[in-house]
Structures are given as structure tokens and as C-alpha cells.
């Protein structure tokens, strides 16, 4: 009880810190962005008047050299980014906030929502890495895509957590500890990002994010894949047996010690906190904290893949809710996108969650490793372009650049598809085997009677 009160007090102490944290999925909305409606466009003078959203304030803007005047539309809500290098109030880019919804876009959103949901329910994180680029390619501005995705992620994670909690897989205390420390981690991550952005500009920032993405995903992905391969080869399911690293960590006896009942782990807070911090830092850098959170809980803390992936959903709920409030305050959530994704992802997440009750622990690891490694390919394909922009390698030929960009996008789609197939396949196989077993059981009972 005393420990619990201490934990609550500790969280309250950290709360003011959390208030400066922006979205868990990155550095939050860009402050130099304006939101509003054009009330006047003067093509000849290359100027425009923008009424700022929710205010009576009008702002005179200069249309930048590279902006096509025809692309500006009167009376539609737009996001305007300014080019501070070109002078004061110079427009760099204009994007229409709400894309027109067509039947094709509707089906695309429903499909990615379903697969993302299954993946999320199954491995605890999933979808964000492909949902955001998918929405952007459908025509949503980047900030709106991130915001709307986050606003769909937290209710999905909430339903998923509830389901998996019912199956006895969520360690609420571990989720709370990880979420609190992850929020601080996000703040550290955002500061590092800001520092890099100030020092090396946008290209440097892109290079940093991609490099971290590739290195972390390949290292962790290979480790998880190797472990899953060993477990699968042995044909055994040993979730109770923690990794060597986790065993060593559990031997560290520096107070305060924390007891996680569902995860069946007793470990020092000095081990748990860094894992949470790193999860948050990665969430702020590459927008998918789960890729380090789940392996961290498995290999460092010593939870089973089942408990770790379920607990990650709880963390995603807390961080997603927090992030959504931040993006909502800036008014960037396109609710249509969020609810359309929810229409299928709420079915998917429950399907994925119940699927975990039919599969062995290592299947979750295989799915996770496959996703991480293919996503690494996707991000890796962008590295040469960023390196060239930064002047570290020769400029790429235009055809190569286009090829690498489409390779990157399709690798993401492949990652989502592969993971969806592995998890659904394992789920169906498990269900059929279970039904057969039940049938045999009933026949045997009837024979005995």
C-alpha cells in the first residue's frame, strides 16, 4: 500500500512535466503553421488575405515564388506553412485541410483500418507506421494525417486493452509505470529532435530519424526473429522462461523493487524506468514506440510476449489519448478519417486480441520481427536520398529517387500485409485445431456415457 501511494505521488510530481510534452507520435504540430480560410487572393500582386481559424483576425500574406496561385482556393479551410527564410509572412506551402471523400478513399481507409486493427490487437502496436503515410497519399496534409491517426489509435487501444485484460494478459501496473516514464521519454526525444533540427535543419532531422529507425529496427528485429526461430524450432512454448538478460536484470536488487503480478516479475525500478524512457524517446523519434516497448518488456524486464504485447496496448491508450488532446487543441483532427478507420479497426483489434488466445507465444514474436524488418527496408530505402540531400553522397538520378520512394511506400504496405497474413493464418489454424479438439472431446464424452 505504502509503495502504491508513493507511486501515485511520484506520478503526480511528474504531471507538470508531462504538460510540456507534445504528441507521443512526434514533436507535435508545427508552430509556424497557420490555419484558416483565404478571403482574398490577388493574383497580380501575388498577395492573399487569410482569416485565422476561430478568430476575427485577418493576416496579409505574400505568395511565395514556388507556390502556384491557382492552387489557392477561397472559402476552404487550409493549412499554410510560412517560409521564414524568404521573409516575413511569405507562404511556402498551402494544403487543403479536408480532402474530398470518394468511394475509393473510403474503402482504402476501411481496409487499412481493419488490418491495422488486427495487428494492433495481436502484437500491441501496429498500423501507425503505415496509416499515416497511407492517409497522406490519399490527400491529407501530414499534420492532419498524424493527428487523425492518433485520435483513432487511442480508442482502438482502449478496446484492445479491455479485451486482453479480460483474457488476463494485461499487467496494469507495468502499463502505468511504462506509460508515465514513456511520457518523460517523449519529452527528451522531442528536445533531441529540436536540437538536431536547429543545428542541421530539416534534412539533418530526416536523416537522423531514418537512421535511428533503420538501426533500431534491424537490431531489435533480428534479435526477436532469432529468438522466435529458436522457440519455433524447439517446438516448445516457454513464456515463463525469461531471457538471460532479463534474468540478470531481475537479480539486481536495488530498491525500490517493483512487483508485477500478471507479468510474474519482480524487478528494480532502476531497470523498468530506462525501458520506459527509451520507449518514449523512440515514440518521439519514429512514432512507433511499441517497436522498442514490447521487446524491452520481453527481453529486459522478462515478461512473456503475450503479456508484453497486451500491456503495450495499455501504454498506447494513455499516450495516444494524451497526444490526441495535444493535436485536438491545435485543431488538426479530421474526425471523418478517425471514425472511418475506427469502423473496421474496432472489429480488427478484437479479432487480433482473441487470436492471441489460440497461438503460441513465439507466433507473436515472429509477426513482430517480420513487421519490424520490412518496415526497416521501407525506411532504409529513403536513406540514400537523405544522405544525398545532406551532401554525404552524390545526388541521386531522378529515376532512382522515384524508385526508392515507391519502394519505401510499397514496403510499408507489404509489412502490413505480411503481418496481417501471419497473424490471421495462425489465428485460423489455432481456432480450427481447437474446434477439432472440442469435437473429439464431445465424442469421447458421449462414448463414455
Amino acid at each position: 500500500m505504502k509503495r502504491f501511494v508513493l507511486a501515485v505521488l511520484f506520478s503526480l510530481f511528474l504531471l507538470p512535466l508531462a504538460s510540456v510534452v507534445f504528441a507521443a507520435g512526434g514533436a507535435g504540430p508545427d508552430k509556424s503553421m497557420l490555419k484558416g480560410v483565404f478571403t482574398e487572393i490577388n493574383e497580380a500582386a501575388h498577395t492573399a488575405v487569410l482569416q485565422k481559424d476561430g478568430t476575427e483576425e485577418f493576416k496579409n500574406l505574400i505568395i511565395g515564388e514556388h507556390v502556384k496561385v491557382e492552387s489557392l482556393r477561397l472559402g476552404k479551410k487550409v493549412l499554410v506553412s510560412l517560409d521564414h527564410n524568404a521573409g516575413e509572412n511569405v507562404i511556402k506551402d498551402v494544403s487543403i485541410m479536408f480532402m474530398d471523400m470518394t468511394l475509393k478513399k473510403l474503402f482504402a481507409l476501411l481496409t487499412v483500418g481493419l488490418v491495422g486493427g488486427i495487428l494492433s490487437g495481436f502484437i500491441g502496436s501496429g498500423g501507425a507506421f503505415v496509416l499515416t503515410p497511407a492517409m497522406m497519399s490519399l490527400g491529407a496534409p501530414g499534420a492532419v494525417a498524424v493527428a487523425s491517426n492518433m485520435c483513432h489509435k487511442f480508442p482502438k487501444a482502449m478496446i484492445g486493452t479491455y479485451k486482453r485484460w479480460k483474457y488476463g494478459q494485461v499487467d496494469v501496473k507495468l502499463a502505468a509505470t511504462m506509460a508515465t516514464t514513456a511520457i518523460i521519454g517523449v519529452q527528451i526525444g522531442v528536445q533531441i529532435q529540436k536540437h538536431i533540427l536547429n543545428k542541421w535543419g530539416n534534412d539533418g532531422s530526416n536523416l537522423y530519424v531514418s537512421a535511428v529507425f533503420v538501426v533500431v529496427l534491424i537490431l531489435v528485429g533480428c534479435y526477436v526473429a532469432l529468438d522466435a526461430y529458436k522457440l519455433a524450432k524447439g517446438g516448445k512454448d516457454t513464456p515463463e522462461q525469461a531471457s538471460t538478460l532479463a534474468m540478470a536484470m531481475q537479480k539486481i536488487n536495488i530498491p525500490p523493487m517493483m512487483n508485477f503480478k500478471v507479468a510474474k516479475v519482480r524487478i528494480s525500478a532502476w531497470v523498468t524506468i530506462p525501458v520506459g524512457l527509451l520507449t518514449g524517446m523512440l515514440a518521439a523519434t519514429i512514432a512507433v514506440g511499441g517497436f522498442i516497448g514490447v521487446p524491452g518488456m520481453i527481453y529486459v524486464i522478462g515478461a512473456s510476449a503475450m503479456v508484453a504485447s497486451a500491456t503495450e496496448l495499455g501504454i498506447a491508450f494513455v499516450m495516444g489519448l494524451w497526444g490526441s488532446i495535444q493535436w485536438g487543441l491545435s485543431g488538426l483532427i479530421d474526425i471523418r478519417l478517425s471514425v472511418l478507420l475506427l469502423a473496421t479497426s474496432l472489429i480488427g483489434v478484437q479479432l487480433g486480441a482473441l487470436g492471441t488466445t489460440y497461438v503460441k507465444d513465439y507466433v507473436i514474436k515472429i509477426t513482430m520481427a517480420a513487421t519490424m524488418l520490412i518496415v526497416a527496408v521501407s525506411r532504409g530505402a529513403l536513406l540514400p536520398g537523405y544522405l544525398a540531400k545532406f551532401g554525404l553522397v552524390d545526388q541521386l538520378a531522378p529515376s532512382t529517387a522515384v524508385f526508392l520512394e515507391s519502394l519505401s511506400f510499397w514496403a510499408l504496405v507489404a509489412a502490413l500485409g505480411t503481418a496481417g497474413l501471419i497473424s490471421t493464418g495462425a489465428m485460423v489454424k489455432g481456432m480450427l485445431a481447437d474446434r477439432k479438439e472440442t469435437k473429439l472431446h464431445i465424442v469421447a464424452e458421449a462414448d463414455r456415457a
Binding site: 479530421d334 471523418r336 486480441a353
Partner: protein, 78 residues
């Protein structure tokens, strides 16, 4: 005789939650412009998108859960 106790399938609740869910979607999309404009005003208006997704997740989540149940897709009984 070994008889399995059969649970009644949640036909009624699936239909009710489904109907409420569909009407919410119709309501939102038929007032698309008003909704998107109001929901993106920022500040206190944040409560709209957050509240909406909570509402949708409870109603539509309940529908999804009942639907899976109806289709016989359930978690493994230990």
C-alpha cells in the same frame, strides 16, 4: 447424454448497436462541413473529437464484439 449448454446468440443487441452505430455515421457524414469546421476550431473544441471517438468506440465496439460473438468467433476457453 452429453449436451453442451448453448448460449443464446446476441442477435438483438447486435442489431441495436449496429443501427445506432450506422445512424451516428450517417449523422456525421451528412453534416460533414459543419462537423469538420467545428471540430477543428482548437482549444475547448478538442472535447468534440475526443468525445466523439469515445462514443463511437463504445457503441461501435459493442457492435463489433456482438458481431464476432454472433459469427462464433470467440476467445479460446481455458
Amino acid at each position: 447424454m452429453a449436451t453442451q449448454q448453448k448460449k443464446t446468440k446476441p442477435y438483438l443487441s447486435t442489431v441495436i448497436f449496429g443501427a445506432i452505430s450506422i445512424s451516428f455515421y450517417v449523422l456525421l457524414f451528412s453534416n460533414e462541413t459543419l462537423v469538420t469546421d467545428t471540430y477543428t476550431k482548437g482549444g475547448i473544441y478538442t472535447l468534440y473529437p475526443i468525445g466523439t471517438v469515445f462514443l463511437f468506440s463504445f457503441i461501435h465496439g459493442a457492435f463489433a464484439s456482438n458481431l464476432l460473438n454472433l459469427l462464433g468467433i470467440e476467445a479460446k476457453k481455458k
